[in-house]
């Protein structure tokens, strides 16, 4: 039996290799025929399973709604658009392989970005290597923009560090008696979450608000007892959470268990999640969060978006859906301006150049980018007022007044 393990393995491997190359190369290389009736094929990889699957699914809904809307309105350059969405299982190795597959094997004409900062960088690398334009809906952390990608654009109003800009200004402008003097931070060890909270921390410290607690915890922490104990012990006037979702819920419950009552509580991302009030109940009142999007915004294309999306899905869009739709709008604007949508480097180069030099009107407002793809804006600030999410800052778009100090939770 030892005789020919080598031989047998050789045979097995060659069969495997043949099957591999045969089976996995389904339909290769039918890339964009110029201007014809072929649809424009757009490749996307999203975390549809695994740790980032919740927002990943939101982004998918946004992309699909955008494609449906474009196709119902005459398509792009007169061609229909067709999405190919793969699941990267929330895994960096997979996300790179997915874009490799989309570009080489499925022969897509354009690519859209995935979700989560952790997945954007490896994906952008693949897109850059093949010369593709890479507009992404969810990689807001500073690190994304310091990697030297010139093909990358973030399709939202602001990078993570600028999310709280309006709130920082508001706090620092408060009269001395009302103005909080101390702040506590609890931040998930994640580039995006840290970006938001530390962006605010930097501005508040510069303005003289003392930091009395600063806790970093690993993603997937579920026991917040000790973190809450330290924050409660510091008795800070304002509590800032660089959070995602479940961590904010756990942290708030733990803080309540310790009887801590801050004057202001701001958490990133979590309060924009529709599950949040279901998990927290009545105690959401007064909680603040930055958001890149509100369905009420009166930008020209936003009403169409909200109407179309609501009609299709039975509920108004959230931030994830809006960012995906924005990504579609940004790429579409570049495609219309350059007059081409194919994988050839000349066309992709034209798209990239156009975006570097122009402003695009989107559902989150007009967007323009710096050299590294950073959008040049700030986020809105929302607050739970009477159980409903209201935009409270900045002054010109607010739907309600900021409540300060916030009610007890």
């Amino acid at each position: 039996m030892k005789l020919s393990n080598g031989l047998r393995l050789g045979a097995l491997l060659s069969t495997a290799a043949l099957v591999l190359t045969g089976c996995l190369s389904g339909n290769s290389g039918q890339g964009g025929g110029e201007g014809g009736e072929d649809p424009i094929r757009i490749g996307i990889s999203l975390p549809l399973t695994g740790d980032f699957s919740e927002p990943g699914k939101g982004v998918r809904r946004g992309y699909e709604a955008w494609a449906g809307y474009v196709n119902a309105n005459g398509g792009l350059l007169g061609r229909q658009v067709e999405l190919t969405i793969l699941d990267d299982q929330s895994n960096a190795d997979r996300v790179a392989a997915d874009y490799e597959k989309l570009i080489n094997q499925d022969g897509v004409d354009l690519v859209f970005g995935p979700f989560s900062t952790r997945l954007v960088v490896p994906a952008a690398q693949v897109a850059e290597d093949y010369g593709f334009l890479f507009v992404e809906p969810a990689g807001a952390a500073e690190e994304v923009f310091t990697q030297g990608f010139d093909n990358l654009f973030y399709a939202a109003p602001a990078v993570a560090n600028d999310h709280y800009n309006h709130l920082a200004e508001e706090i620092l402008a408060m009269p001395a008696g009302e103005r909080p003097e101390t702040a506590a931070y609890a931040v998930m060890d994640d580039p995006f979450a840290q970006g938001t909270a530390y962006g605010l921390k930097e501005k508040l410290e510069a303005g003289g608000v003392r930091t009395v607690a600063d806790e970093v915890y690993p993603p997937n922490t579920t026991d917040f007892g000790s973190i809450a104990a330290k924050i409660a012990d510091s008795n800070a006037d304002i509590m800032v959470g660089g959070t995602q979702y479940q961590d904010a819920v756990n942290l708030i419950v733990s803080l309540r268990q310790l009887g801590y009552q801050p004057d202001m509580a701001a958490f990133s991302t979590a309060p924009t999640n529709p599950e949040f009030p279901k998990a927290i109940g009545q105690q959401t009142e007064g909680i603040i969060s930055p958001t890149g999007y509100t369905p009420e915004a009166d930008y020209p294309s936003n009403k169409e978006f909200v109407d179309y999306y609501t009609e299709q899905n039975g509920a108004p869009p959230n931030e994830d859906e809006a960012n995906a739709w924005t990504t579609g709008q940004v790429v579409a604007a570049a495609v219309e301006a350059a007059g081409c949508a194919d994988p050839a480097p000349e066309c992709q180069g034209k798209l990239i150049d156009w975006l570097h030099n122009n402003e695009v009107d989107t559902v989150v407002g007009p967007l323009s980018w710096d050299e590294a793809g950073r959008p040049q804006g700030a986020h809105l600030i929302q607050q739970y007022v009477d159980g409903e999410i209201k935009i409270v800052l900045p002054e010109d778009t607010k739907e309600a007044d900021l409540i300060h100090p916030k009610p007890k939770w």
Binding site: D51, G225, S226, A232, Y245
Partner: protein
């Protein structure tokens, strides 16, 4: 560092340590009766938490009532698992292969939970989730106290079962020396099966306690298995009281170390203790003869 914070951390450490102690006792039972390192223990813990959440979502009743179903169910599953799967492995490679087998069970449980309930983080919304009372300046959350009470009660029950009943004697005999136990007429196969069932029952109780005060998601079990493994090594493989004491000590240590070190570095305490134990006293601090050989 202020006095109240220290006290508060002590209280939190004790409450957490209780849960660790119960779960570590379960792990020790498997190891004792079968020399099995049960990687799937924490996966069953999460499964029980999901069952409690599902029970509450469907019926609207208190998650604690789900124990009525999950404890017998898990006991039965443990017996079946030992009889149908673990006992099929070759004795010579049992320890290693059982690790892989239980690892594969953990993966199947995680995958099935993800399949059935998606990766969304779930949390039972309890009317008393934020309720707490003050004790000498430290506040004690009601849900954490319930969890601790459940764990403590179960540990005492387990202790009495092991020490005072005939079955307990048989179980301890099987743990200490299987061949000798067989010689004096103990049906060690059946006892091992029941030992497994008891171990899984602790996961059912622990999972329900966990679901009261934490969000749950399918891959959460990886977060639990590491510290639990450290606990049973520090306590000495195969020693139930050793595991319980080590769990309490490590839980307290972690909670106190969080004050100066922060959350992430404090978590490494379990592993530092694990390595230190293996370097200095490989048989663990409370282990008997058993641990020296494994």
């Amino acid at each position: 560092m202020s006095g109240p914070l220290l006290l508060q951390s002590l209280v939190l450490g004790v409450l957490l340590g209780g849960l660790y102690a119960l779960l570590a006792a379960g792990l020790t039972l498997y190891f004792g009766v079968m020399r099995v390192v049960m990687i799937a223990h924490s996966a069953f813990l999460i499964l029980a938490a999901y069952l409690a959440w599902f029970f509450t979502r469907e019926t609207g009743l208190d998650p604690l009532l789900s124990l009525v179903f999950t404890v017998p169910l898990f006991f039965g599953a443990g017996v079946l698992m030992q009889r149908l799967l673990i006992s099929r492995l070759r004795p010579a490679t049992l320890t290693m292969m059982s690790v892989l087998l239980t690892f594969s069970i953990a993966l199947v449980i995680e995958g099935t939970l993800g399949f059935a309930f998606s990766g969304t983080h779930r949390r039972i919304r309890l009317p008393y989730s934020g309720a707490h009372f003050e004790l000498f300046g430290a506040s004690i959350a009601v849900v954490k106290l319930i969890g601790f009470g459940l764990a403590g009660f179960s540990l005492v029950a387990l202790y009495l079962l092991l020490k005072k009943t005939r079955f307990g004697q048989a179980l301890r005999a099987t743990m200490q020396h299987k061949d000798a136990a067989q010689l004096v007429g103990i049906n060690t196969d059946r006892v091992a099966g029941y030992g497994f069932g008891l171990g899984l029952a602790t996961a059912a109780i622990g999972g329900t306690a966990l679901s009261l005060d934490s969000t749950i998601y399918p891959s959460l079990h990886w977060h639990w298995i590491g510290p639990l493994m450290a606990v049973i090594v520090v306590g000495g493989l195969g020693s139930v009281p050793g595991a319980a004491i080590a769990a309490m000590a490590l839980g307290l240590g972690q909670s106190l170390l969080q004050i100066p070190l922060g959350t992430t570095w404090a978590q490494t305490f379990f592993y530092v203790a694990l390595f230190a134990t293996l370097m200095l006293r490989p048989q663990g601090f409370f282990g008997g003869r058993l641990a020296q050989r494994f």
